[in-house]
């Protein structure tokens, strides 16, 4: 029968309203996805940094008067490497220490008599913990001063900074999600007002509120999904671009790289679905409230 081909949706498409809403929702999803990817990157980077800091300690050898500091550092590194819980110990020469001091003292050649500390990078064995105070005890009788830095101070700072970035990212995602939900709720109310004839006709032929609500819910779920897909794919492209370019976002988030791994990919994939669900729920609540208020 020919009429079957023209069986229409009960809720007609409204491109005039849907397109701007699609654009706004896509932009919100794009920003939320980027924030999510940024937070995920911060999370991963912070974990890497924390692991590095807890796996290493640095021993400073302060040169004694009339002594060869480089030789002292080499000898100390050999002794330290023998301690239980130490995987390796590597002495860094004066040249390497000078490079570390360049930001403060400049690139000029330092006077030979300037007592530049020598550093020993000690990598710890993750299986066997190093006994507290073992390095200090080992070098306690040495004819030079020794400072052991277990990075505890930095680890706490990095953990705090990383947590701040994570929560900031999650907060931005939450705020953008709320904004998207509010925009969709507003749009759903406008859509219901524009198609009140449909709602009223359905109501009068015996459709319960849930039937009418479902029409709008499905409409906005699809709109949210489409917007989510567009926004998330754009965010994915940008995120991937930043990760292969070295991560300009690192400058913003005080992180070394903009990480876009499996988690980032998951965020992009999940964003479309979450966007659809947020839109559907928001539209459902908005329409349901209006119907209850109108038809008491």
């Amino acid at each position: 029968m020919s009429q079957k081909s023209r069986s229409g949706d009960l809720l007609p498409p409204d491109r005039g309203r849907d397109r701007p809403l699609l654009a706004v929702a896509a932009i919100l999803v794009f920003l939320a996805s980027l924030a999510g990817i940024g937070a995920a990157g911060a999370w991963q980077a912070a974990e890497g940094w924390t692991a590095q800091l807890t796996d290493q300690i640095t021993v400073q050898i302060l040169p004694g008067t009339g002594r060869d500091a480089d030789a002292d550092a080499e000898a100390a590194a050999i002794e330290i490497a023998r301690l239980p819980g130490v995987a390796s110990a590597e002495a860094r020469g004066r040249a390497q220490s000078e490079r570390l001091l360049e930001p403060w003292l400049g690139t000029g050649v330092l006077p030979d008599d300037l007592p530049v500390p020598r550093l020993i990078a000690v990598r710890l064995d993750s299986e066997t913990p190093l006994a507290p105070g073992a390095v200090e005890a080992l070098l306690g009788d040495a004819p030079y001063e020794v400072v052991v830095d277990d990075h505890d101070r930095w680890e706490r700072a990095v953990t705090r900074a990383a947590a701040a970035v994570r929560y900031f990212g999650l907060g931005v995602v939450a705020l953008l999600t709320l904004a998207a939900a509010a925009v969709v709720a507003f749009a759903a109310r406008a859509s219901l007002a524009a198609r009140w004839d449909v709602a009223e006709a359905l109501h009068l032929v015996g459709a319960p509120d849930s039937y009418i609500t479902r029409l709008f819910q499905e409409r906005f779920f699809m709109l949210g999904m489409n917007a989510g897909l567009i926004g998330a794919v754009l965010a994915g492209v940008v995120g991937y671009g930043l990760s292969i370019l070295g991560g300009s976002a690192g400058a913003v988030f005080f992180l070394p790289r903009f990480e876009f791994g499996w988690l980032g990919l998951g965020i992009v994939a999940g964003a479309a679905l979450v966007s659809g669900l947020v839109s559907a729920i928001s539209a459902r609540l908005a329409v349901s409230n209006v119907l209850k208020a109108r038809w008491t």
Partner: protein, 241 residues
């Protein structure tokens, strides 16, 4: 059930509750004055009534009360034996499915074909398209819209839209049919045909209430008449016209 539209009690078996019963009903919009006051009447199950009165008498308001689009500000309305004030909100859709309404302004959905408009009550009731397609087409042929099945309402004349609206109201064989000026936009021949459809529906047991200005139409059947003036019932239909 076969009934004679001219007898107000003919279709009122003692056991069946009245399809509609008003008892001291008044109605106002918001905080405005009462547009209907002290209405008391009964539409026995299976009866056929006309509702007449001058413009502004309150006919449309009365119909809104019957199809549950408005609540009374006072008095009791009983639908199919149930006090409408005590019917929970979630049960109202079930009640509305038992009522077919023909609106004066048709209220067809402009983006749906005539077929889909007429099938709307069945679709909402959850019936499969295959189960009602033939019935819808047969009914559309009966009301003279057999060749406009795929047409959209904006392309129909006023009379065609009216017939589609009537078809939509009767397709689910409602227990109560309310029609507001159902023959106002059609020629006398089609008006007679539509009236026959409503009488036939009444013979099958549907309670029918037609609001009309058309004195000729009202007199043609000799059915009881409810007459409104200034929101008050001056004839409750107990005497045959």
């Amino acid at each position: 059930m076969t009934t004679d539209p001219r007898d107000p009690d003919a279709a009122s078996p003692q056991s069946a509750p009245a399809a509609v019963r008003f008892d001291g009903v008044g109605m106002r919009y918001g905080r405005g004055p009462e547009v209907l006051s002290d209405l008391s009447f009964e539409l026995p199950s299976g009866s056929f009534h006309f509702l007449t009165g001058p413009s502004g008498a309150g006919k449309t308001s009365l119909l809104k009360l019957i199809y549950l689009a408005q609540r009374p500000s006072r008095g009791l309305i009983s639908m199919f034996g149930r006090d409408s004030a005590l019917i929970p909100r979630e049960s109202l859709p079930d009640l509305r499915r038992r009522i077919g309404v023909v609106f004066q302004d048709f209220r067809l959905l402009q983006h749906l074909t005539v077929f889909d408009n007429v099938a709307l009550p069945l679709r909402v009731a959850g019936q499969a398209r295959a189960s009602y397609a033939d019935d819808v087409i047969d009914l559309l042929k009966w009301v003279g819209l057999g060749d406009r099945i795929d047409a959209l309402p904006p392309t129909l004349s006023g009379g065609e839209q009216q017939r589609a609206a009537i078809a939509r109201a009767v397709i689910s064989k409602p227990e109560l049919l309310i029609a507001d000026e159902p023959t106002g936009n059609v020629d006398p021949e089609m008006a007679n045909r539509l009236l026959r459809l409503l009488v036939e529906l009444n013979r099958l047991g549907t309670t029918v209430l037609i609001a009309s200005h058309d004195i000729g139409l009202v007199r043609s059947l000799g059915a009881p008449v409810l007459e409104l003036a200034d929101g008050k019932l001056i004839d409750d239909g107990r005497r045959a016209a």
